[in-house]
């Protein structure tokens, strides 16, 4: 039974009593959250409130100053930096991470889905901010991972791009995935919960 519980965890990520200190300032303290399959949690707060810090703790990039994060499943990370190298084309970027993750997904097809077919062979430094963002978000489609951690996923995207990403998030949730997104402004998808920092 214990093994069964480990196989199908009831939550995809759980944090208890998280706290963050920057210099002499407490950004947040005693913050707890839990996200289950199909849910989408939105992190809100003014600039510098600690949205990115919280997201980095959830992803395991930063060690929490207090509390602990439990993450039994693998996750995708879209940070505010895209992870695209200046000399790297979207094709090279997607096939690189596809290789890292042992993915057999068709990068050309993903590019079509993300609307980056035209600049597919253009080096990263020549791409527009929106094209770079789309390339980063295309990573989500390379490998099937239940949890998506997104830092301002809609930044630099045009209306069509926003619709596209909203569609991806909805589809991901419908198929049993979960999303945690740090956002400014309105969430274009229906959030199941909100954390105000």
């Amino acid at each position: 039974m214990a093994e069964n519980a480990a196989m199908t965890p009831e939550f995809l990520i759980k944090a208890a009593g998280l706290g963050a200190i920057r210099g002499e300032r407490v950004l947040f303290s005693d913050l707890s959250l839990e996200v289950k399959a199909g849910e989408a949690l939105v992190l809100r707060g003014a600039n510098g409130a600690g949205k990115s810090t919280l997201l980095r703790m959830l992803g395991g990039l930063s060690r929490p100053d207090a509390g602990a994060v439990e993450r039994p499943v693998r996750h995708h990370w879209i940070g505010h930096r895209n992870g695209l190298k200046p000399h790297e084309t979207p094709r090279a970027h997607l096939s690189h991470w596809g290789r890292v993750w042992g993915s057999s997904a068709d990068t050309k097809e993903i590019a079509g889905q993300m609307g980056i077919e035209r600049p597919f062979d253009v080096a990263g430094r020549l791409l527009s901010a929106g094209q770079k963002r789309r390339t980063a978000i295309a990573r989500l489609l390379l490998a099937d991972r239940p949890l998506w951690l997104l830092d301002e996923p809609f930044s630099a995207l045009d209306t069509q791009g926003k619709t596209l990403v909203t569609g991806l998030i909805d589809k991901h949730r419908a198929s049993g995935g979960a999303v945690i997104a740090a956002l400014h402004g309105e969430a274009p998808f229906e959030a199941s919960g909100e954390v105000q920092l």
Binding site: G59, H75, W77, G79, E88
Partner: protein
């Protein structure tokens, strides 16, 4: 197989990055040749004098040239967000750091070793001793790149960290420089070459872990 493919991808990405722009290959070569070629102008071109210090000059030039392009190796990854992605992977970060340092050494370090015979001849070093000495320069150069990689990882989050890299790495070069210089004088088969190999193995076993710890700090 599954554990190896992320590493191969990391290695490939590092090779691609080192080649992109070309400076990763040419800058250390230019620096190495330039620094060594200044010596005859400063100490005089008397062949007895030059040949006695020639192998030592090559060691100094090799040590300095191995640091020239170290600043960007990890800093670029931190700036464009690639390090964040690697830090969240299941692949151990020390293996990724090792793959990056080795790739960097292949592109910018190995050409320096191949360049030691022509520069050595210009410095009046006995030509017969130069080809066997390449083994020592190769072993030593690898250790220089490994320690340089640790320093580069420590300085990744520092703007203009080049000076910091030199300050951190040069003291770590000392054992390699001592045994390397002795090994090139003794020639192959001497005990110093074994000690040189030992310092390189030591670097190989410590540097990836030190670099990955530094990268974890940088990415936090």
């Amino acid at each position: 197989m599954t554990a190896q493919s992320p590493l191969r991808a990391a290695f490939r990405q590092a090779l691609g990055e080192a080649w992109a722009g070309g400076a990763g290959v040419l800058l250390p070569i230019g620096f190495f040749a330039g620094a060594a070629m200044l010596v005859p102008f400063t100490v005089g071109s008397e062949s007895s004098q030059l040949s006695s210090i020639g192998t030592g000059i090559l060691w100094v030039a090799l040590a300095l040239a191995s640091l020239v392009s170290m600043e960007r190796v990890f800093q670029a990854d931190l700036e464009d967000g690639v390090l964040e992605l690697w830090a969240q992977e299941e692949t151990p970060l020390f293996l990724v750091a090792a793959a990056k340092i080795i790739a960097h050494w292949l592109v910018s370090g190995l050409p320096l070793v191949l360049l030691t015979p022509p520069i050595g001849i210009a410095l009046q070093v006995d030509p017969g001793a130069l080809v066997p000495a390449m083994l020592a320069y190769g072993l030593g150069g690898l250790a220089f790149f490994l320690w340089g990689g640790v320093a580069g990882a420590l300085a990744a989050s520092v703007a203009r960290g080049g000076l910091l890299i030199s300050l951190l790495a040069l003291p770590l070069f000392v054992p390699t420089a001592i045994f390397g210089a002795l090994a090139t004088i003794e020639g192959p088969g001497g005990p110093s070459l074994l000690f040189l190999g030992a310092t390189t193995l030591f670097a190989l076993s410590i540097a990836p872990f030190a670099a990955s710890a530094a990268l974890r700090l940088a990415v936090d």
